[in-house]
């Protein structure tokens, strides 16, 4: 310890303090600050470049995924559309068939009904005519009977002929 204190040189301490503090300040201004700034700048640059590359990669992946999704959606939509179209077509056909069937059956029914009506009307007419004829005949017969027996016969025969002809 005695030697340590004995060796201590105030002059050397003074010079070292002045020179070293000066050196720190000088180097700070002219060396350390620019060096560390450059290094930081470079590191930040690298970091940013890496981050943006990573982002781009992620975006690419997203894009790919969305593309895939889009394609899938489109395909599904197409399938759905096709299915709908087919269904509509089938339905339309079946509906048309049904309708046609209904319409024809109605027509037939109508026709049958009108035929029946016509038939009834014809029959009624016929009945009426037969009745009229019968009444006419009966009238004439009654009239002739009153005149002569021969004429009556002739008349009946004539009427009968007429009937046969009609």
């Amino acid at each position: 310890m005695d030697k340590l204190i004995g060796d201590f040189s105030v002059g050397l301490f003074f010079w070292q303090l002045v020179l070293f503090v000066g050196l720190v300040l000088l180097l700070k201004k002219f060396a350390w600050k620019p060096i560390l700034d450059s290094v930081n700048e470079r590191e930040d640059g690298i970091k940013n470049a890496l981050a943006s590359a990573e982002d781009a990669k992620k975006e690419m992946q997203n894009l790919n995924a969305s593309n895939e999704q889009l394609l899938k959606d489109a395909r599904a939509e197409r399938d759905a559309l096709m299915k709908d179209a087919r269904e509509i077509k089938d339905k339309m056909i079946s509906d048309a068939k049904e309708e046609a069937k209904e319409v024809t059956s109605k027509l037939i029914e109508n026709a049958q009904a009108s035929i029946e009506q016509e038939k009834q009307a014809a029959l009624a007419e016929l009945k009426k005519q037969v009745a009229d004829l019968s009444i006419g005949i009966a009238e004439t017969v009654i009239k002739k009977e009153l005149a002569s027996k021969d004429d009556q016969l002739k008349l009946v025969e004539g009427i009968l002929k007429e009937v046969k002809l009609s």
């Binding site: 303090l17 050196l23 600050k33 620019p34 060096i35």
Partner: protein, 366 residues
């Protein structure tokens, strides 16, 4: 590629041989002159040289030798001496002639004794007390010593190194260039593995300048201490004290309320314990930077002493076995010291960051 290595290896071998033959020549010469020292003398010389090497000095001498005329010849250059002794006295350290002569500046006489400057008279008398400490008065010594000079050079080197590195970023789209490629990983390591985990994401930016400067400063100066230039700065207690006190000042100046609260009124313990913990915690704040100071100082000093002792063994043993063994050992230790140089810088930075972290830590859980 193989040829290149072979050529290099051969060059190295030739180089080593030339050194060895030179050494042999020299020892023969010494014998011829009859100046060969005894083993005891050599031991004493090495013993004296090591602490001398660890001291700061007023001139920058790379090495010295004794010429054929028995004169000490120093290879190096003098540095300015700046003394405050009722007025400024500035002269070059060459006036001292490495402590052999008295320097006269103005009306005052000064003499170097064991690396320290004492005021003396024209005759250069220095009185010693019983512990062999000089009792002469000492002027305030603000000289640019070898260590101050080295710190200046390291500061300049760091400034050029890192300001150029910073410029390269600007001209090169934030990419490092040349030296920066080597230094950038270290800078990032200090930021990501020392500052961020210890201080926290929120506050670490404020301390980066100091942490980076202190790391590179200690590392470079430790490495310089391992070169044959004979520089050793970080084994001066004044240097490590200065670094530690800066860490202490930054810690104290930037401390948040929680830091003081944990020192003076520790939450979560019974009241009597709070009174006991108060002085302990307060003492702890001083012990932390103190340990920083001692750790760096002791590690580097010990490394230098051990390395030089082993190298000194070469000169003491002066035979091929001891020499080569010492050389091998010194080489292994040298490699270890390279590691220690970086490790001590790392530890100092790491612990500083830890103390800063404790200063700005926010205890959300209380």
């Amino acid at each position: 590629m193989h040829r290149k290595i072979t050529v290099k290896a051969l060059t190295l071998v030739f180089f080593l041989f030339s050194i060895v033959s030179f050494a042999i020549d020299k020892s023969k010469e010494e014998k011829a002159h009859g100046t060969e020292k005894t083993k005891e003398q050599r031991e004493k010389e090495v013993e004296e040289y090591i602490p001398h090497h660890l001291l700061d000095s007023h001139d920058f001498s790379l090495f010295s030798y004794t010429s054929d005329e028995g004169e000490h010849v120093y290879i190096g250059f003098p540095l300015p001496v700046i003394l405050w002794d009722n007025g400024l006295n500035i002269f070059m350290s060459s006036k001292f002639h490495h402590g052999e002569t008295i320097a006269k500046s103005g009306e005052n006489y000064y003499k170097l004794d064991h690396g320290k400057i004492y005021k003396t008279d024209a005759a250069g008398t220095i009185t010693y007390d019983t512990d062999h400490h000089a009792t002469n008065s000492k002027p305030l010594d603000f000289s640019v010593t070898k260590n101050v000079f080295t710190v200046m050079m390291v500061g300049l080197l760091m400034f050029f190194m890192f300001s150029r590195m910073a410029k390269a970023y600007k001209n090169n789209e934030s990419m490092p260039k040349g030296m920066g490629r080597l230094l950038e990983p270290i800078v990032i390591y200090i930021r990501d593995d020392i500052a961020r985990p210890n201080i926290g994401e929120k506050h670490y930016k404020r301390y980066m300048s100091y942490l980076l400067t202190v790391f590179f400063f200690i590392w470079i100066i430790n490495l310089l201490g391992l070169t044959p230039l004979g520089i050793n700065v970080t084994n001066n207690i004044a240097i490590t004290f200065c670094l530690a006190i800066i860490t202490y000042i930054i810690t104290t100046a930037t401390a948040k309320k929680d830091y003081w609260k944990h020192i003076f009124w520790m939450p979560g313990v019974p009241t009597p314990m709070k009174f006991i913990l108060m002085p302990i915690e307060l003492l702890g704040t001083f012990i932390k930077p103190f340990s920083l100071m001692i750790r760096l100082y002791a590690n580097i000093t010990a490394g230098h002493i051990v390395l030089m002792s082993i190298l000194g063994m070469i000169f003491i043993a002066q035979n091929w076995l001891g020499g080569s063994l010492s050389f091998l050992l010194a080489m292994v230790l040298g490699i270890l010291e390279l590691l220690v140089a970086a490790l001590q810088a790392y530890i100092f930075t790491m612990l500083s960051a830890l103390y800063f972290g404790s200063a700005v830590e926010e205890h959300d859980h209380h």
